[in-house]
C-alpha cells in the first residue's frame, strides 16, 4: 500500500476517532445535560483544543500529501467547507465561553450552542468525506457540487451510523452503565447502517471487503467491537480504554477498503500523491510530528491524572 495514502489516512483516522467521541459528547449533552455534562467535562476541556488542532493537521497534511488535487478539492468543496469552518469557530467560542462563565444556566445554554455547532460541523465534514468516497453530488469534469452530496443514501446511512456509534463510544468512554443493553443495540444498529451504506456505495469498496485480507479485517473490526460491547455490558473499565483504539482501527479499515480510489473510482489517489524530493520530507515531518504529539499527549495524560501535591505529600507523611 502506498505509504503517503497510509499516513494520510492514519492522520484522518486519528482525527475522526477523536471527533466521533466529541460528537457523542455533544449528543449526550443535548440529551441529558444534568446527567452527563459534569462527568464528560474533565475529558473534554483539555481535549477540545487538541481535537481542533487535529482538524488543521488533517487539512495541512492533505495539502502536503495531495497537492495536485487541491485545485479540484478546493473548487468543489468551497461552500460546505467554509460553512463548516464558521461553525467550527462557533464550536470553539461557545465551549471556551461555557468553561469559565461560572453560572449553571448560562453554561447550559452555551453548551447547547457548542453541541449543535459540533453536530453541524460533523455532518458537513462527514458529507464532504463520504462524497469524496462515493462521488455522489460531485461533477469532477465541471468541478461542481450539488445538494445531493448530502442527500444520498450512502451519506445519510453513514451519518446515521456515525451518530449512533458516537453516542455509544461516548457512553463507553465515560463508563455510563445504566441502560447499557440499549448501547449494544445502538452500536449494532450503527454497524448495520454502515454495512448497508457500503453495500450501496462504490462497488470497489465491496470488492475490497470481499478479498481475503479485506474480509479478515472486517471480521476483526466486528469482533473488536463485540469484545468492547461485552466488556461494557459487564461494567469493565477496560472497555473505556479500548473504545478510542477501536474507533481508530475501524476508520482506518474503512480507508483501506476505499484504497486507492476517490470520488466513486473516478480518481486514483495514489496517482495524485506527492512524489519526488518533497515526499520524503513530508513523511519525515509526519513521523516526527507524531512523536512530538505522542510525547506531549503522554505528558498531558500523566500530569492531569496525578493527584494534587498536597494529597501526595500528606500520603507520604
Amino acid at each position: 500500500m502506498n505509504e503517503i495514502y497510509l499516513l494520510n489516512h492514519a492522520i484522518f483516522s486519528a482525527f475522526l476517532s477523536l471527533t466521533i467521541i466529541e460528537v457523542g459528547i455533544s449528543l449526550l449533552g443535548l440529551r441529558n445535560y444534568k446527567r452527563y455534562w459534569n462527568i464528560m467535562k474533565p475529558y473534554l476541556m483539555p481535549m477540545w483544543e487538541i481535537n481542533g488542532t487535529f482538524a488543521v493537521f488533517y487539512v495541512v497534511a492533505f495539502e502536503a500529501m495531495y497537492p495536485s488535487l487541491l485545485g479540484l478539492v478546493g473548487t468543489i468543496y468551497i461552500i460546505p467547507a467554509l460553512i463548516a469552518a464558521l461553525f467550527f469557530i462557533l464550536r470553539n467560542a461557545f465551549l471556551a465561553y461555557s468553561e469559565y462563565i461560572g453560572d449553571d444556566l448560562r453554561e447550559r445554554r452555551l453548551v447547547r450552542v457548542y453541541s449543535i455547532s459540533t453536530l453541524v460541523v460533523a455532518v458537513l465534514a462527514l458529507s464532504i468525506f463520504t462524497s469524496s468516497v462515493s462521488g455522489s453530488g460531485i461533477n469532477i469534469l465541471a468541478q461542481s457540487i450539488s445538494s445531493s452530496f448530502i442527500v444520498n443514501s450512502f451519506n445519510i446511512l453513514a451519518i446515521a451510523s456515525v451518530l449512533l456509534i458516537a453516542a455509544f463510544g461516548a457512553r463507553v468512554l465515560f463508563g455510563f452503565v445504566e441502560g447499557r443493553f440499549w448501547d449494544m443495540f445502538f452500536a449494532a444498529l450503527g454497524i448495520i447502517f454502515m454495512i448497508t451504506a457500503v453495500a450501496l456505495g462504490p462497488s470497489y469498496m465491496l470488492y475490497n471487503i470481499k478479498s481475503a485480507e479485506g474480509f479478515s479485517l472486517f471480521v476483526f473490526e466486528i469482533a473488536f467491537l463485540f469484545v468492547i460491547e461485552v466488556l461494557h455490558l459487564l461494567g469493565k473499565k477496560s472497555a473505556r480504554i479500548l473504545v478510542i483504539p477501536w474507533l481508530f482501527s475501524a476508520v482506518m479499515a474503512f480507508s483501506i477498503f476505499q484504497y486507492p480510489y476517490m470520488f466513486g473510482g473516478q480518481i486514483n489517489a495514489v496517482f495524485y500523491s506527492t512524489s519526488g524530493a518533497i515526499a520524503g520530507y513530508v513523511v519525515f515531518i509526519t513521523l516526527a510530528g507524531f512523536l512530538i504529539l505522542a510525547l506531549s499527549l503522554g505528558t498531558l495524560a500523566y500530569i492531569t491524572s496525578r493527584k494534587p501535591v498536597s494529597q501526595r505529600t500528606r500520603k507520604k507523611a
Binding site: 483544543e49 487541491l70 485545485g71 469557530i89 467560542a93 506527492t274 500530569i303
Partner: protein, 446 residues
C-alpha cells in the same frame, strides 16, 4: 457582475486582518503570564500571581477563538486560492506542515498548564509550562511567515521552466526555510507581533486604572503593577520593532526591488535619490511631495551617490498600486511617533508626572495602543499590496490563483457578519466571566 476574485481578496484580507489581532494577543499573553508568574513566585507577590491567573483565563478564551480563526484562514487559503495551494503543496508546504506541530505543542501545553496548577512540585515548574506555550506560539508565527517570505521571494524550484510550461521541476523542499527575505521578515514579524500585543494590554490596564474605584487602593496597586510590567515589555518590543523595521526596509532594496521602488515612489533608477515624503503619481510623474535630497540613497546604500531601483525597470502592468507609498510614509511617521512616545514618557517622568497615576497619561497609553495596532495592520497591508498583482512574486498572479466560483460572494459576506458577531460576543463573555470572578476575591481582600 462583480468578479468573484474581488470577494476572494476581500474575504482573505478581512479574515487575516481580524486573525492578526488575535495572533497579537495570543502571542503576547503567554509572555506576560510567564513573567507575572515568575515574578510573583520569586517575590511571593500576590498581585503578580493574581495577574498571571487572570491573564490565563483571558488567554484560554482568546486561544479558543484564535485557533478557530486560524483554521478559517487555513481553509480560506485552500478554498479561495486552490491553484496557489496546489503550487505551495508541491514546493513550499514544509513550513506550513511544521506549523501544525508548533500549534499542537501550544494547544497541548495550554491544557497541561491550565489543569496542573496544584499537581506539580517545583517552585517554577508550573511557570515553565508557559515557556513551551510561548515557544509554540512564536514558532507558529515563524513558520507561517516563512510561507509569506516564499510568496515575496520564491525559490526552491525551476521558475523559468514553470513559467514556460506550467510544470514544476527541480524542487528543493528545504529552500523555503531560507529564502532571501525569510529571516528579516521573521524577526520583524515576531517583534511587531509582541509590539502590537503588548500595547493592547497596556491600553487595557490603563483603561481599568481610569475606571478603578479611587477608594480601593489594592485594586489600583494591582493594575499599576500590571501596567508597569506591560510598559517594560512594550519598551523592549518597540525597540525591537523599530530595529527590525529599519533592517526590513533596507533589505527590500536588495531582495524586492519592485516593491521597494513602489513604496519609495521611485519612477526611475537613480543615484543621489531623494527621500520623498508624501506625493502621488499622476500623468507619469510624482506631484505634491516634499523631497529631501540624497537621503534615500544614504539610507538604502550608505552613500549619497548610491543608486536605487526604479519602477521603469519593471513592466507597467506588474507595478503594485502606488498608494503603498502613502502607507509606507504613514508607517514610518507612526513608527517614529511610537519611539517618541517613550521619549515623551521619559520627559514627563523628569517633570515629575506620575506615569502610573495621571489620568491624562492613561489616555496617552490608550492612544499609543491604537497607533501600535494600526501600525501592525498597516505594515501587513502595505507588504501584501506591495506585492500585487502577484500572489507569488513573478510566478503566479492573484487572478491566476483565485477560485472563480460565485459561491465565494455569500461566503465572504457570511465571514464578515460572523466576525462582527464573534468579537463583541467574546468581549461580552469575558466581561461576564470577570464580573463573576471579582478581582478583590482573587486578591483575597474580600
Amino acid at each position: 457582475m462583480l468578479s468573484p476574485v474581488i470577494f476572494d481578496r476581500f474575504d482573505m484580507g478581512f479574515s487575516l486582518a481580524v486573525h492578526i489581532l488575535l495572533v497579537l494577543i495570543g502571542m503576547t499573553l503567554p509572555i506576560m503570564i510567564l513573567l507575572a508568574e515568575v515574578i510573583g513566585t520569586k517575590f511571593k507577590d500576590r498581585y503578580y500571581l493574581t495577574l498571571a491567573r487572570r491573564l490565563t483565563l483571558a488567554f484560554v478564551v482568546f486561544f479558543g477563538i484564535g485557533t478557530a480563526s486560524g483554521t478559517l484562514v487555513a481553509a480560506n487559503l485552500l478554498f479561495l486560492w486552490p491553484k496557489f495551494m496546489a503550487l505551495v503543496g508541491q514546493v513550499a508546504i514544509l513550513p506550513v506542515y511544521a506549523e501544525v506541530f508548533a500549534f499542537f505543542i501550544e494547544a497541548i501545553f495550554v491544557g497541561i498548564y491550565f489543569y496542573s496548577g496544584n499537581k506539580l512540585k517545583g517552585k517554577y515548574s508550573h511557570a515553565a509550562l508557559m515557556v513551551f506555550i510561548s515557544i509554540g506560539a512564536a514558532l507558529s508565527a515563524v513558520f507561517i511567515t516563512m510561507l509569506n517570505a516564499f510568496m515575496n521571494t520564491p525559490v526552491g524550484f525551476n521558475i523559468k521552466a514553470y513559467l514556460a510550461n506550467g510544470v514544476i521541476t527541480g524542487v528543493q523542499p528545504l529552500s523555503v526555510f531560507n529564502t532571501p527575505s525569510t529571516w528579516v521578515e521573521v524577526f520583524h514579524v515576531l517583534a511587531t507581533s509582541y509590539f502590537g500585543g503588548i500595547f493592547i494590554l497596556v491600553a487595557y490596564f490603563a483603561y481599568r486604572l481610569i475606571n478603578a474605584d479611587a477608594r480601593n487602593e489594592e485594586v489600583r496597586i494591582y493594575y499599576r503593577k500590571a501596567l508597569s510590567l506591560s510598559l517594560v515589555v512594550a519598551l523592549l518590543a518597540t525597540l525591537a520593532a523599530i530595529g527590525t523595521g529599519l533592517v526590513s526596509i533596507s533589505s527590500l532594496y536588495y531582495v524586492q526591488p519592485e516593491k521597494y521602488a513602489a513604496i519609495e515612489l521611485d519612477l526611475t533608477p537613480m543615484s543621489h535619490a531623494p527621500e520623498l515624503i508624501g506625493g502621488i503619481y499622476s500623468n507619469g510623474r510624482v506631484i505634491d511631495s516634499i523631497s529631501i535630497p540624497n537621503l534615500q540613497s544614504i539610507l538604502a546604500t550608505g552613500s549619497a551617490n548610491g543608486s536605487v531601483p526604479g519602477l521603469s525597470e519593471f513592466p507597467r502592468d506588474t507595478w503594485p498600486p502606488l498608494f503603498v507609498h502613502i502607507m509606507f510614509d504613514a508607517m514610518v511617521f507612526l513608527g517614529f511617533a511610537m519611539g517618541g512616545f517613550f521619549v515623551l514618557l521619559l520627559l514627563l517622568k523628569l517633570l515629575g508626572v506620575d506615569l502610573l497615576r495621571s489620568k491624562k497619561v492613561m489616555y496617552l497609553y490608550i492612544l499609543a495602543a491604537v497607533v501600535a495596532v494600526a501600525l501592525v495592520e498597516n505594515g501587513w497591508v502595505m507588504s501584501e499590496i506591495g506585492r500585487q498583482p502577484w500572489i507569488i512574486y513573478g510566478v503566479m498572479t492573484v487572478s491566476q490563483a483565485a477560485n472563480y466560483s460565485q459561491a465565494t460572494i455569500p461566503i465572504a459576506i457570511a465571514v464578515v457578519l460572523f466576525y462582527i458577531f464573534i468579537f463583541p460576543a467574546t468581549v461580552e463573555i469575558l466581561k461576564i466571566i470577570f464580573s463573576k470572578r471579582q478581582l478583590e476575591d482573587d486578591l483575597g481582600i474580600k
